[in-house]
Point group: C2
Chain length 496, copies 2
């Protein structure tokens, strides 16, 4: 991550007030998709670079989306019986080292605390990259009897993973997430929990974020360090790359053995428990931007939008009082049915405001000027399609919630169509290789199940197996890559 972008925003440059400047500053997706993404984030003031490489501030416009994610996911966690808790940020080195695969996976990207105050620490502490080690250490004391099970706990927090190459929201050295950590009596219960929470992610992403996903099992190579099975939900960005939007791990008895989580069962036998963990992070904000955004900037699905409708009054000289009064009244009425904002700032022109709110992705713009007042009407403009409609003032309060639902549904269907149009299948490796260089997208293919073929694909195409999709059936007998018999369907894609 370079500081160029933020330097360009330094005092005196990119100043406000210049009517159309904003949108022109966003690089079109077709010119440079990656730059478009950065432009949208900086212009919409969602994030800003910190003096420490790879670290960022999430600004109010970005954080408000994270708050919506928290609210809507947390509700689902509680409905499925989970409680929140908070575990220490700093973890002793020896705890991480208890689990071999886990330490191997995480040690290279750990930030180490070696001094506290003036004291050099006898044992270095790591800033949590994930919390299995510290949480399971607590669980080993909290679990004694079958009566203590299940433990269904979630934590909202930040984690640090020292990244070499970073990109706002998608890969940063610190990010926000939730991590669920549960303990169960039986293998069946743990597996049920693992799939239940994957289902919560899928339903949340599709219903609230309007992001369709493919759900399935990760391959051994791609599974979480220390897990028995890792499940994933994979979304497709508008540049044809996949993004892993959430994962759910069945950890088997692996962590329970390492951290000594045992319980006296109903039959008076001391047994090892079964654990799971699952997480979703601020990356999904990156997915939201890339699935729905366009060349004018952000496009927010109504359920995720901190502001769902913005009212922009159009003042005419000497005739602004009655317009102001009318929009204030409308804003008051709309509060009951939507998250509405009245933009009555007089230091900006209506044209500037139109562009600004469009760039920020607000689903509906409501325009109201002297002529509208005279005609007893208002103008509504949809952010997703650009469509405008003029409706009677008396219909607005009824119309807005309906239109918001319509936009939500249309955005989801549009994303589904894009995903389906860009999900291909076949048995021709050359065709597949060519596709990964051009349109990309998901590619469903038969696979022999070998590590060798998986690695070969990655080396030659940069595509990886995103998952073994649920409910997929083998179409071609032979593996896409080698001549062996196929045992699975793999969903290939290049990914973020």
């Amino acid at each position: 991550m370079e500081r160029v972008n933020f330097v360009a925003q330094k005092k005196g440059q990119g100043r406000k007030g210049n009517d159309k400047e904003f949108v022109k500053e966003i690089t079109p997706r077709s010119v440079d998709y990656s730059q478009w993404y950065i432009d949208v984030i900086l212009k919409a003031q969602m994030m800003d670079y910190s003096p420490v490489k790879g670290f960022m501030a999430i600004r109010p416009a970005g954080y408000a989306i994270w708050e919506k994610i928290q609210e809507l996911l947390d509700r689902r966690f509680k409905e499925t019986g989970h409680q929140n808790a908070y575990f220490p940020l700093l973890i002793p080195k020896s705890l991480l080292e208890k689990e071999a695969a886990h330490v191997e996976g995480f040690a290279p990207e750990v930030a180490w605390v070696t001094r506290g105050g003036s004291e050099i620490l006898a044992e270095p502490l790591l800033v949590r990259p994930t919390s299995e080690a510290i949480i399971n250490d607590f669980y080993s004391r909290w679990v004694q009897s079958w009566r203590d099970l299940p433990i269904l706990i979630n934590q909202w927090c930040s984690v640090v993973r020292w990244e070499k190459s970073t990109k706002p929201f998608l890969r940063t050295s610190e990010f926000l997430w939730q991590e669920g950590h549960t303990v169960h009596r039986t293998e069946e219960e743990a597996q049920e929990e693992t799939l239940k929470m994957l289902g919560v992610y899928k339903e949340f992403l599709e219903t609230e974020m309007a992001i369709p996903v493919i759900d399935g099992l990760k391959t051994d190579r791609e599974r979480f360090a220390g897990a028995l099975r890792t499940y994933t939900v994979e979304a497709l960005m508008s540049d044809g790359r996949a993004l892993q939007a959430g994962t759910s791990h069945n950890l088997g008895q692996h962590f329970a053995r390492v951290f000594d989580i045992t319980f006296l069962d109903k039959d008076d036998q001391l047994k090892h428990a079964w654990t799971t963990s699952w997480g979703l992070s601020t990356r999904t904000i990156g997915a939201l931007i890339m699935v729905h955004g366009d060349d004018r900037g952000l496009v927010l699905p109504p359920r995720m939008a901190p502001i769902q409708a913005v009212i922009v009054p159009i003042f005419r000289k000497g005739d602004s009082d009655r317009v102001l009064e009318a929009v204030q009244e409308l804003a008051e009425e709309l509060k009951a049915v939507s998250r509405v904002k009245l933009d009555d700032r007089d230091e900006y022109s209506p044209g500037w405001k139109f562009n600004d709110w469009e760039m920020r992705g607000i689903p509906i713009r409501i325009e109201m000027g002297p002529r509208d007042l005279d005609n007893g009407q208002v103008v509504l403009a949809r952010r997703d399609t650009g469509e405008k409609e003029t409706i009677a003032r008396s219909e607005v309060v009824k119309r807005i919630p309906v239109l918001l639902e319509q936009i939500q549904e249309d955005m989801f269907q549009k994303a589904v169509k894009f995903r389906d149009d860009n999900t291909r299948s076949g048995d021709n490796y050359e065709e597949f290789k060519n596709l990964m260089e051009t349109d990309r997208g998901f590619f469903m293919a038969s696979w022999c199940g070998s590590d060798d073929c998986e690695v070969k694909v990655k080396d030659e195409t940069k595509a990886t197996i995103r998952c073994i999709p649920f409910g997929s059936e083998i179409e071609h007998e032979k593996c896409l890559v080698c001549d062996e018999k196929a045992t699975k369907v793999a969903c290939f894609a290049r990914n973020y």
Copy 2:
């Protein structure tokens, strides 16, 4: 903090099922107040010690209270125009060092990150002990014009301060808090914001947490490192010690000058902005325990209680089906008017449940057995007073919300009475010294304003000036300590 308590909880010890064991395990306040506090926290499973000295896990029973605090405070922040954001956890050493008083105040208690992955960092990073330095660095870029002001941002996060001696919730090496950081055009606006947010804390603590506070100005010695003026709200614990429950700082132009937060004003002049910061932390959970708790455990004011009423069915052998059906129906009805829980576990006896929920501080217990069913009645028991009432089943849904409000009000009035009974004034230094050794409490006295007298009091009595209370009038002409003329009223107390 020692690990003795948690070791005593290791497998096999303190096991469940023994009816009356729980309450006996809580040390009475009169025997050892400090041990009572720890006992309540461990037995009610609010917190647990981590392998790293001074760090703790906040368990679901404790975290649910923090979630209530977040919900109720955050609503107030938004109503007063604030937005949330998130700033990096790690701060470059050079940023902290920009402000001399600030670095002097915080450097001794900082945790230092010196390695990232395999790389030794050229410049050490500190885990944030507070975020003025990093946030003001961002603000220097975000503020350019008077149009960008005010900036009204709050952050919910954890902070680390390396503490030598720690106590659950009150002083831990990591704690959760919110920190507001605002930027203003004028001195008046900054002062107004500082006092407004102190007012939000006071109103929140009194209305929701039922904790009465004294508000006022900190002395120069006690003010925040780098602040112009620090304001505080001080609560009185049931052992007569004060606890600082929230602070609000007017930072003047001090940080704006150091971090170069300037803006082009309406008159086209480049000016330094005015900033404030204000915070409230998980310490307030400690205050909640110590203000309201009793020898049976926690007592939660209804508005803070994650569970407001618990239904305990009393099963009689061969007659449990109709009881279960009746309590399920009642629970369903009560959901609409309160946060209710049905405890229908059959591995515990009603007596065990009574003790357990009492210890956890749930405001109302609802008992329902076969005899109650026959008589068309239920029994309600108040946690705060122990009072029981038998009412008609048909009245319950109407009665519960009224009773919850009554308990909230009674708990607040009880705390006010305790505070008032333990707020004394006078001009006799020996009497004051004696009081600080015995009943403690708040002591309002005239003070000359000198550092010498403030230090002398601290050395001789361990009491400090908690604040210069708002609206207080000088009663005695001479300073409590020396013979000089008094210029202020000081509120003295020993504190946490």
